[in-house]
């Protein structure tokens, strides 16, 4: 469905309601109440660029096969942050342990898809567009969600990609923007001008971007009195920018930040430890900022990346591209704990883990359970039925 058609349809319904269908109800409501939209619940996506090694992130320390697969780069048993009698976290994730103890952090194990593609670029495209392995889609999965059920037009944008990189899950969305710094954005958006006739595709793209920038520039009002301390590294800056957008605007459905590169073909131990530390510090700041805005209960944070890494470490102290992987969810409503099913360390497909749960089940949980979009919309966005993961507390 085209976004424009849907807006027209929704607009029609709203007008009908306002015009007299339920005037009493409308009058009875607090005028300042936030817009009733499924998207008042915020989604924050964290891309672990380059593909994080899940096996050394959620460590199956009790499985003897783990030490066989990871004789030199494995996380030592006495360093693992124990979560259960089987699994523990990488020590760099220590700052997240309070969340785990509060049951607001979940690890979703064994995510993947059939006929895995081991190319970074193709596989992240699969994840970003929620496609099958052999299917090429132009629109990101969130772009399709926003096309099916539109966020309020008053939102600063439907989706915001923080940093100037690719648009990822927002690719080809009608109203998604990229911001690397709110201050620069505010100043420069004064130069944006969407008028004029776009007679080819490239011009259409430019004028749309100009329009999005002009609109967002008018909406954003940055918050300068954060009590939250954001980490000084680039990921911390991204979290701060993301929270500026969340705090200072009329609303946003989804924000994407990124950290990397996790592409640790060699010398993995130090690189991954450092990146996971930054990840944990950034996420702790994100939680603090959400608390400060009183939004933690309507925020869902999800990590994602294109694949996990090869079961067995390589001879360079690193890991090559693999398949099934673990991702993390956090938030005030998250059903903390271990979800999904961990892949067997011995029953491999070739050299790789076999996934237990299709990654689109994760998206299904977001669309169906977090945003509560209509069943039919969820099925059409994901082009198929995927049972949800119990990501949220009942």
């Amino acid at each position: 469905m085209q976004r424009r058609e849907f807006l027209t349809a929704t607009g029609g319904i709203v007008t009908a309601l306002g015009a007299g269908a339920l005037p009493g109800l409308a009058l009875g409501q607090n005028v300042a109440a936030p817009i009733e939209s499924p998207y008042k619940r915020l989604l924050v996506l964290v891309e672990l660029k380059g593909a994080n090694d899940g096996l050394n992130t959620l460590v199956p320390y009790a499985d003897p096969a783990y030490a066989v697969l990871r004789p030199t780069i494995g996380v030592k048993r006495d360093q693992v942050l124990q979560l259960s009698d089987q699994f523990g976290l990488h020590p760099s994730l220590e700052p997240l342990m309070p969340l785990w103890k509060n049951k607001q952090l979940a690890a979703i194990m064994g995510l993947g898809y059939p006929q895995p593609n081991l190319s970074h670029f193709r596989s992240i495209e699969i994840w970003d567009t929620a496609s099958k392995s052999n299917e090429y889609l132009q629109e990101g999965w969130l772009a399709r969600a926003f096309a099916a059920v539109a966020p309020p037009k008053s939102f600063v944008a439907d989706g915001v990609a923080v940093g100037s990189g690719d648009m990822g899950p927002f690719a080809n969305a009608q109203r998604a923007i990229s911001i690397s710094s709110t201050d620069a954005f505010l100043r420069q958006s004064k130069l944006a001008d969407p008028h004029g006739r776009a007679y080819n595709k490239a011009l259409q793209h430019i004028l749309r971007v100009e329009g999005d920038a002009q609109f967002a520039g008018a909406q954003l009002k940055p918050k300068n009195d954060w009590k939250t301390e954001f980490p000084k590294h680039a990921f911390g800056e991204q979290i701060k920018t993301a929270m500026q957008v969340v705090s200072a605007s009329s609303g946003v459905a989804a924000v994407r930040v990124g950290l990397g590169s996790f592409d640790t073909h060699q010398g993995q131990v130090g690189t991954q430890a450092n990146l996971l530390k930054q990840l944990a510090e950034g996420l702790v700041a994100l939680k603090a900022a959400c608390d400060e805005l009183n939004r933690w209960d309507d925020t869902l944070v999800l990590t994602y990346c294109e694949f996990g890494r090869r079961a067995k470490e390589n001879a360079s102290g690193g890991t090559d591209h693999g398949t099934a992987n673990v991702q993390f969810a956090m938030g005030g409503k998250v059903n903390g704990g271990l979800l999904g099913a961990a892949p067997s360390l011995t029953q491999l497909a070739g050299d790789n883990f076999v996934h237990a749960t299709d990654y689109r089940a994760l998206y299904s949980s977001v669309l169906r359970d977090w945003w509560r979009l209509p069943e039919s919309a969820v099925d059409s966005i994901l082009a198929g039925k995927f049972s949800s993961i119990p990501l949220l507390r009942a």
Partner: protein, 585 residues
């Protein structure tokens, strides 16, 4: 080029100097006690030499060159084989950085084939702009006996100090080269064989790779592919050095097929494993910085690649890759996206790829076929490609003949706009096309262009020029402290400023950019530099034209979308530069 016939007097600092070839700032440089001095002097000598050479060339060339430089719409061509103004502009802008009006006029005297042949006839194979002094010799950067602090210091030198020197040097080469097609193709191959200094961390090896790409940029692809497979920077970037018998590392094997030759879907996962075995033992000798084949690490066993069985080595694999038609088609398709249109015509690509294979992968005949294809010239393929940040920045500075003292600020700006030379985001290179433009990057582009066309106005207050120069182009919020420090550095040039000397102290304490020993009176050269645009002189080229559209026809790839009632003045130029059409080529 000689533009002395232009009537408008110059208003720059130099115009008050009685010796135009010996401007005052040479004095400043001569008094410097700074390692960059030699390079600067060499550069100045080179600039003077080049200017003399160009003057000589101009005086010897045809009448059109000696005549006053005036842009006048050419008469409707009697023999319609000659290029129209728009056609000449189109060819030049797709194959070089934005062309100057005079260059466009020169090409209107040629037919399509003559024009393409002329572009392909004169192409440099090495850079003319002097490279940083340290590029002349190799020295092992990291040694096992170093302390972590020493390693960190070296890494900072390689990545921050020398990294920026390299980016600046290449930017300067692009700004000054007489054959921009060479740089365009060097950049195309840098994007194709994407290698990032962020992983290589040895500036010298990045420099050597760049020289290799330039040497073969318009030479032979088969040779380039063989050389790049043995290139030390590439071997480090794709872990070739880690690829050993019994413990293969698949990184290079996968990318050489997926991204360098065949493209996705033309090989299997099993092929990747076997190709990795074939390349075992290809590594870098860190003491010499050269390729080294380590026979004892090479897997001499039998491999099965693309269904063929044999004791293949890396060279055999490259031969096999060059025999596959997908390789030529994949690369021609990529060039199509770069030079023709965002929609690849598979039939045409196959035809041009066949031409290329028949020419034994010589790049020039392939480019000739591409540039002479109907698709290249049709009107619906005009203004359909998004300029890359390099094309936008270098093109603007070249087209408007900005005088640029130091290219470093512009290298930094290109990074802000999403194209950090020597640091592509990953091995796939920059995504390009519409992906260049999102709200962040489009706004940053417009901010840059808006500031750029204020350069002219600043000249009216010469005492502030040094302060409010290049650093003001660099966006404060996107660069954070780095820009502030650059500003502070520039401020110190005005020695009577108290604020400046405070800033100097601050700057000297900052480790990020100061780069040991690179400070001169507290002024770091790396982000210093003036830029200047003489809009009166530039616009006087149009003094004799009666055609109102000629200004946008020079500057834009199609009619302006927003700019209306354009005047031949600075405001008119700025309006055109801020028009959405300016983003397209």
């Amino acid at each position: 080029m000689n533009l002395s016939s232009v009537a408008q007097p110059r208003r720059s600092l130099r115009s008050r100097n009685p010796y135009p070839l010996y401007p005052q700032w040479i004095e400043i440089i001569m008094r410097m006690n700074h390692p960059a001095k030699k390079a600067l002097i060499r550069y100045l000598l080179w600039v003077c030499g080049s200017a003399l050479a160009l003057l000589l060339m101009a005086s010897q060339s045809e009448a059109q060159m000696a005549a006053p430089q005036q842009v006048v719409a050419p008469p409707p061509s009697a023999a319609n084989t000659l290029l129209q103004f728009e056609d000449a502009r189109h060819l030049l802008n797709r194959t070089s950085f934005a062309a100057q009006p005079r260059e466009i006029l020169e090409f209107t005297q040629l037919t399509k084939a003559q024009a393409v042949d002329r572009l392909l006839a004169e192409t440099r194979r090495s850079a003319a702009f002097p490279a940083p002094e340290w590029t002349t010799r190799y020295e092992r950067a990291y040694r096992p006996d170093m302390t972590p602090e020493e390693r960190q210091a070296v890494q900072r030198r390689e990545l921050v100090v020398r990294g920026l020197e390299l980016k600046s040097w290449w930017t300067a080469e692009m700004l000054s080269t007489p054959t921009p097609l060479t740089e365009k193709m060097t950049l195309f191959w840098h994007n194709h064989f994407a290698t990032s200094q962020q992983k290589v961390r040895v500036a010298q090896l990045m420099y050597r790779q760049n020289a290799l790409l330039r040497q073969h940029a318009l030479g032979n692809f088969a040779v380039l592919l063989r050389e790049i497979s043995k290139d030390p920077a590439m071997l480090i970037y794709l872990d070739g050095a880690q690829n050993r018998k019994g413990a293969p590392n698949e990184n290079f094997a996968r990318e050489v097929m997926e991204l360098f030759t065949l493209g996705q879907g033309n090989y299997t996962e099993a092929d990747i494993k076997e190709v990795a075995r074939a390349f075992t033992g290809w590594s870098t000798d860190l003491d010499t910085g050269e390729f080294r084949f380590r026979a004892n690490l090479h897997d001499t066993g039998e491999k099965v690649i693309f269904g063929q069985r044999g004791k293949f080595n890396g060279d055999d694999v490259i031969t096999m890759l060059l025999k596959r038609v997908e390789t030529s088609e994949f690369i021609v398709g990529k060039l199509w996206l770069e030079m023709v249109s965002p929609d690849v015509d598979a039939v045409e690509v196959k035809r041009i790829a066949r031409t290329w294979r028949e020419a034994n992968y010589e790049i020039k005949p392939m480019l000739r076929a591409l540039l002479l294809s109907d698709a290249f010239w049709v009107s619906q393929h005009r203004a359909v490609l998004v300029k890359s940040p390099v094309e936008l920045v270098v093109g603007s500075l070249r087209q408007f003949q900005f005088e640029v003292e130091d290219a470093a600020p512009f290298a930094v700006i290109m990074r802000q706009l999403g194209q950090d030379l020597f640091s592509p985001p990953n091995v796939k290179g920059w995504p390009g096309g519409e992906a260049w433009l999102n709200t962040t990057t489009l706004l940053a582009r417009k901010g840059f262009l808006n500031r750029l066309f204020r350069a002219d106005e600043m000249a009216s207050a010469p005492s502030t020029i040094t302060v409010a120069t290049a650093a003001s182009l660099i966006d404060r919020d996107m660069m954070g402290q780095r820009r502030d420090r650059a500003q502070a550095r520039l401020a110190t040039v005005n020695s009577n400023s108290a604020r400046a000397s405070n800033a100097t102290n601050e700057m000297m304490n900052s480790p990020t950019m100061a780069g040991g020993g690179a400070a001169m009176n507290g002024v770091n050269q790396q982000l210093r530099g003036q830029y200047y645009f003489d809009s009166h002189k530039w616009l006087s080229q149009y003094a004799k034209t009666s055609e109102a559209d000629l200004l946008w026809k020079t500057i834009l790839a199609g009619p302006p979308v927003q700019a209306t009632s354009l005047k031949y003045d600075l405001a008119g130029l700025r309006a055109l530069a801020l028009d959405p059409m300016y983003q397209l080529k």
